[in-house]
Symmetry: D3
Subunit: 216 residues, 6 copies
C-alpha cells in the first residue's frame, strides 16, 4: 500500500484537528491506507470570511507539495480553499469536502439542500457549485447564522439545524448536506429527525479518497 | 459493522461476476464491510441493447428487496439499469457505476471523456448524463465499436482504447472513464499511456459505497 | 394511408382504456389514420410506484414489436414507461404523453406547471424533465395527493386541482399540464376557472402522433 | 368544429403560398378543421435578413388580429417572425415552424441538426433556440449557402442537402430539421438517403396546430 | 475622436428624451465622445406591449442606418427593441439597456433581481434573459404594477420600489436592476434604503458604450 | 468627482504597469476620474500557474483595503486573481478583466472565442466561465502556447494570434477575446485581419469601471 491519506485542517485550531482524527477512526482499517490528520499551522483560528479562506491557499499548497508521499489529500474546510493550487502541487488526488459532499448528495436524492453556518458563505458556495456545473440540482442553501464556535455546542444548535433542515425540505430538498467540517455528530440524529439522508462533507471526501487509494 | 456491500452483476455470466470478485479483493479490509458479488440469474448473458438493460430491472429490484441486510448495493453494469426501482426497493444506498464514475471524474478533471463499448449506448448514456444535470462537463463519448466479448481480449483492445482515449483528449477531456464494467485491467496501463487519470466505474462505485458504509 | 395509431394504456384497467377510446373520438377523421386503443394485459391495475412503471417496460416493448403495422405509438401513462425500449422495438415514432405535454406546453407559455397525482412521482418527473434538457422552463410541479382512483371522482377533485393550479400560477406558471392520463374532462373547466391554458397529455401526444402520420 | 387553421406565408411570393397549400392537402380531413393558406401582402418577396424578418411583424400581427375566427395560426417562415406579437394579438394558439420543428425533433432523437439556408441565419436561430431553453440538444446547424431561390431547384440542391446532413450526423445529430419552409419535397428522399428522421418544419407545426384544434 | 454616441429613445415622448439628456450629462467629458439623444419620431408615446416594442424595430433600424457617423448606439428602452435589426444596420456597436444592465449586474452580485414596471413584461424579459444564456443568475423579476406614467411621480413610487426590492432580496437577489429607462433618480436613494447595489440600465449601457468608444 | 480608478497590475513587472498606464491614457478625460496604475510589489514577475495567481490574493486584498479612496478597482490580470477577496475588502466596485471581457463580448457576438497564452490556463478559465454561468456562449478557447514574454514580441506573435483566431472562428466564434492583459496593441490589427470584433480585456474592464464611476 502506498502512502497515507492526508486530512488537512486548514485552520490552526488543534481541537478541530483532534475532532477530525476521532471521527475518521472508522476509516482506519487493517490493510487500508494510513490516515493522517494535520493542522495547518499558518491557518487562522477559524475560517469565516473570503479572506480567511484565501489566506490558507499558499501554506496549504506548500504543505501538500512537501508531502509527495501522500496517496491522497483531503482539504477539511467546507470552502474547499486552495483546491486548485493543491491539485497543481501534487499528482495525488486532492478532495475538497464541499465538492465531495455535493457529488455524494447526487447519489442520494433528486435535489440537495445545504445547511450553512453563516449568511456570508452562501454566495461563495453558490459560485462554487455553479463552477462545478451542478447548481441545477441545488434546492437551496440556508444559513444557521450561528458562529463556528456556537456549532460546537449542544441542543440549541441541533434544534436550529433541524429547523433549517425542514425549511430546505420545504424548498424541495430530499437530501441534506452539513455545510461545515465540524458538525458530524449531528448527522445521524438529524437524519432520524428529518427522515432524509444527511451527508457529512468530511465523511463524503474520506470515502472518495479511500476508494481512490484502494483502486491502486 | 452492519451487513455486506452487495455488488450485483446484472448479467448472468458468472465469469463476469468472478472478475468483479477478484478486482474487489482490494476493498476487503479487516474491520471493513463484507463485499459480496452476486450474479443476476435472470439476467441476459450480456447487456447491449435498451431491452437487455430494461429486462433486468424487475429481477434486480426483487433481489435488492430480498436483501434488506445489505449495507449498500452496487449495480455493476454501466447502463445503471434499474437504479430507480432498486432505490425504491431498499433504504440502503444504491450506487450505479455510471453515476459514480461521472461524479468521481469531476474530482479529477475539468471535462471528462467516456470510452464506450458500442455506438448504440452513446445516446443512452447522454440521456442519463443529462438527467444527472452534468452533461456540460462531458467533453465527449466515443465508442470502441467492439463487442463486449472482444473487450475481454488482449493487445488489440488496448490499442483501440488508447486510440479512442486520444481522440477524447482531443475533444477536450482531461480525465477518462471506462464505460463498461469489465475493463479494469486496462485502467492503469491506459493511464500511463495517455497521461490522464482513467477511472474504472466499478472502483468508483465501490469507493463511494465503502465510504458510505464506514460513515455509519 | 398506412397503419393505425396505437394508443396503449399500460395498466390493465379496461375502463381506463375505454375512457381513452372515448376521448380520442375527436381525432378519428375520415381519411385520417385509424386510432386503436389497447390495454396492456400484463400491466398492473394502476401505475403509482417506480416498480409499477418499470414492470410494464418489457410487455410494452413486446406489444409494440408485435405491431409493426402501427404508423405511430402513444404510451398513455404520464411516466412514459418503456419509452426507450419501445423506440428500440419499432421504427415507427413512439410518443410518451409526458414528453409531448411538456413540449406542447412550451408553445403556449413561458413557464409550465405540472399538476401531479402524488408526491412520489414528482422527483421521477423531475429526473425525466432534466433528461429532456428542459427543466429550466418548469415553474413547478405540485401533487394533488389524491389516489389515481380519486381522480375519477367529481367536484372535490376539481376543487383540489384548481387549488393546486393556483399555487403553480403563483410559482410563475402561465400554462399548466395535467400530469396523468385520466383527467381530460377537467381540462376545459380548469382552463376557464384559472385563465391559463391547460394541457391534457394524451391529447398532446395524439396531436403529435396524428401530425406525424399525416406527414407521410 | 371551430374556425380554420390559418397558415400564413410571411413573404409576398404567392407561389410559396401555393406550395404550402398543396403540401398541406394531406392535413385536410373530413370532419377536421379547414386549413387556409394566406400570403402576407405586405411581406418582402423573400425573408433572408434580420430586417426582412422584422419587417413582417406588424402586418402579421394585424392579419392575425383581424382573424379572430381562426382556431389556430401557423407562421410559415423558419425565423418565426412576429411570434410574440401574434400571440399577443389573439387568444388562439400561434405556432412558429422553427419552434415546432425543434420540439418535434426532441421526440425523434437525442440531438438534432439543422440544415439552414444561409450562414447569416445560423446565429439568429441559435439565439432563438437558446431563448427556448433547448440549445443543449442541438448537435449543430450548418448552412447550405444557397439562396432561397436555389432551394426550389433540383438535384444539385438535394446533393448539397445530403452533404450537409452527413456533416451534421458527424456532429452528433440523429435527427435533422429542414431549416426553411420550402424544402418539404426533399424530406422523404433525404430521410432515405441518410437513414435518420428528417423533419419538415411546416409539417411539424401543422401537426401541433391540428392536434390542438381537435382537442377542443 | 470619432462620431457621437447616439442614445435613442424609442418612444416619441420628448420629455423622456430630455430626461435622458439630463441624466447623461455626467458622461459628457472633455476629450470624450459627444453624446446625442434622439427621439424616435415614429415611436408610440410609451412602450408597454409586445406590439409597441415591435412597432419601433423598422424605424429604429432605419434611423441607425442613416447615422453611419455614430461611434456607438444605445437603445434606451428596457425591452431592447430592434437590437438585432440595429446591429445588422450598422457596424458600430449597439447596446441594449436590458442587456447591459444584466451584464453589469453580474459584476456586482451573485444573483440579480429586476424591478419591472408591469406584469406583462416579465415573461418577455425572461425570454430575453434566457436568450442571453444568463437566466441562471436571475433571482427573480417582480412588477411594480404601476403604469409608465406613474413611475414619473414621487414618494409613493419610491415606496413601492423599495417594497418590491425587498421582496427580490428575499428571493435571493444581492443586486437590483431598475427595469425601465426612466427611474434613474430613484437609483441612489433605493441603494441606500436597501443596502444593495442598484443598477440603472441606461447608465449601464452608456458605460459600456463610452468604454467601447474610448477603446478606439 | 470621487477618488481614482485603481488599475492594479498583480505582477511585479513595472514595465507591464507602464504599458497599462500608456494604454489607459485614452480613458483619462477632463472632468472624469483619475486613473492610477499600480504595481503589486509582492507579486511574482509573471503570473502563469495557479500558484502564481493565488499568491497575489492576500497582497491584492491588502492593497485594495488600504485604498478606500478608490472609486473603482480594476484587477489587470486575465486570471482575475483575488477578485472575491478584493470585493470583500472594499465597498467600491471591483472589476476583473476576464469577467468584463466575457460580459462585453456578449454584446458583440453570439459566441465568443478566447485566445489564451498557454494550455495550462484553459481549464482554469473554463472553471471561471462556468462559475459565471456563461459557458454556454463560449465557442472555444485555444492557447497560443507562447510564453508571456514572447507575447511582447512582434510579427511572429501576431501571425500566431491570427492563426488561433481563425481556428476559433472555425469553432463558431464571431467575437474574440485577448486572454491576457498585455496584448492590446494587437487588437486593432487582428480585428482588421479577421473581420470580427476583438476585445481587449483591460479596455473592457476600464470601460465598465469608468461607466460605473460616472454613474455616481
Amino acid at each position: 500500500m502506498s502512502g497515507p491519506i492526508l486530512v488537512i485542517n486548514p485552520n490552526s485550531n488543534p481541537e478541530v484537528t483532534a475532532g477530525l482524527d476521532r471521527m475518521l477512526e472508522a476509516y482506519r482499517l487493517q490493510g487500508g491506507p494510513e490516515i493522517e490528520c494535520l493542522t495547518l499551522a499558518e491557518g487562522p483560528f477559524g475560517i469565516e470570511s473570503q479572506r480567511d479562506s484565501d489566506s490558507v491557499i499558499l501554506p496549504l499548497a506548500r504543505l501538500v507539495k512537501s508531502r509527495q508521499d501522500a496517496a491522497a489529500v483531503v482539504l477539511a474546510c467546507y470552502s474547499d480553499p486552495g483546491i486548485d493550487a493543491c491539485r497543481e502541487a501534487t499528482s495525488a488526488p486532492v478532495y475538497g469536502i464541499q465538492e465531495c459532499s455535493v457529488l455524494t448528495a447526487l447519489t442520494r436524492g433528486e435535489r440537495f439542500g445545504v445547511i450553512a453556518i453563516g449568511q456570508a458563505s452562501v454566495a461563495r458556495h453558490r459560485r462554487y457549485m455553479r463552477r462545478m456545473g451542478l447548481i441545477d440540482r441545488l434546492a437551496g442553501e440556508r444559513p444557521l447564522n450561528l458562529s463556528v464556535a456556537d456549532t460546537t455546542k449542544g441542543g440549541a444548535v441541533f434544534d436550529r439545524m433541524a429547523e433549517v433542515g425542514r425549511e430546505l425540505i420545504g424548498d424541495g430538498a430530499d437530501v441534506l448536506i452539513l455545510g461545515c467540517a465540524g458538525m458530524v455528530r449531528h448527522r445521524q440524529p438529524l437524519q432520524e429527525a428529518l427522515g432524509v439522508e444527511v451527508i457529512d462533507p468530511v465523511q463524503a471526501a474520506m470515502g472518495m479518497a479511500l476508494g481512490r487509494v484502494l483502486a491502486g
